[in-house]
Symmetry: C2
Amino acid sequence: MRYSREHKQETHDRIVKKASVRLREKGAHGIGVADLMKEAGLTHGGFYAHFDSREALVIEAFAYAMDRSMEHWRKQSDQVAPEKQFAQIVETYLSALHRDNPGHGCSIPALGAEIARESPKTRKAFAGKLDEMLEMMTDFIPNMPRKAARKQAIATLATMAGTMLLARIAGSGELSDEVLKAGKDSALEGAKREPVKAAPAKKKQS
Amino acid sequence: MRYSREHKQETHDRIVKKASVRLREKGAHGIGVADLMKEAGLTHGGFYAHFDSREALVIEAFAYAMDRSMEHWRKQSDQVAPEKQFAQIVETYLSALHRDNPGHGCSIPALGAEIARESPKTRKAFAGKLDEMLEMMTDFIPNMPRKAARKQAIATLATMAGTMLLARIAGSGELSDEVLKAGKDSALEGAKREPVKAAPAKKKQS
DNA sequence: TGTACATCAGTGAACGCGCGTTCACTGATGTAC
DNA sequence: TGTACATCAGTGAACGCGCGTTCACTGATGTAC
């Protein structure tokens, strides 16, 4: 082979890594193949030696970003006492730093809506990573039986992702800070309560 | 004038209305000017007699969608007893019907991330409508002083929007239904609790 | 070890296409007389 | 009331541009001898 054994894989990984940042920053359709290759120090012509299509890169880059988020959660939780792990994750997630750096943050508020509209293949890849993340979050919910913890994990991640979404819509001023604080306090409180009960059945509505 | 006095305004409104549906369905960049005009029964050439740019339509269509959502909340709340209004809104929002019909649903999970990345003008227009919606939600939070209710309203809307986002990523199967249920129960519980307290100050994190 | 050859990651021009936007034109209707 | 004219919402061809993708080619390096 022309280059050393791992050369191509390294290039491939570099493209994926850089793309995962830019796609989170600019949206799933917000940056083109040529610019993504330029980010990796290459020209656009070589793209299809690494990926079948732009969409294939989006799937890889998104999976990479979700894996990095989960790795980040693990590293953070390793640095604090078990009873503080949940709060650690929530507070880091709902920080101004995360809000202002979508390129290195969670893909759910950054890319979720767009990817949910993509092809079934892409959406399912996203759904798989979401489920992995929910399982990990379940492990961090303190003092609950597994089933209740899973339910609380879903509610917590929803609150976290929703809060980040609203905070970014609000910009980076007063309203945005107010949103972050309200979401953070709510997420922290949520996991302290008794396990959530099912609501009584209600009549269907339109 | 060539047509009756309100003719142009009616056409304008029709374009905005149809666009608000298709944009929520396909994303802020997911459908072109020509197709949006076709939706309204027109050809693309006339577009710029109604809007300065595509972006101007996006702003109008988005504001229209948010107004319809708020109107919908008001109508629903008028149909039930005051103590049931909050639950009514949460349950309708977090229904499979809403999940499966983004074109007629809330713009926040559908368009929020994309619009937060648009020009400051567009983002600010969105932020204004978000604040209006938060004010309305505050009115529906039961049994709390205004300030606490506002905080709870933010947390509730974040949980609602985040749950809808996750549910759509999950598709429309088991996982998605599980997400909807967990988010719904959590949002309903949240507003029943004591007002959320601020979390104790913690050290900064990266 | 040194040389000739084969490989293939990466280059850059070119493609077809769809987009947002512009513009000269049309023709149905309101207005003036 | 009837006729001629003015208006302007809407039409459809055309524009420049950027996109995803293709492809013939290059040249640095690994391999065979």
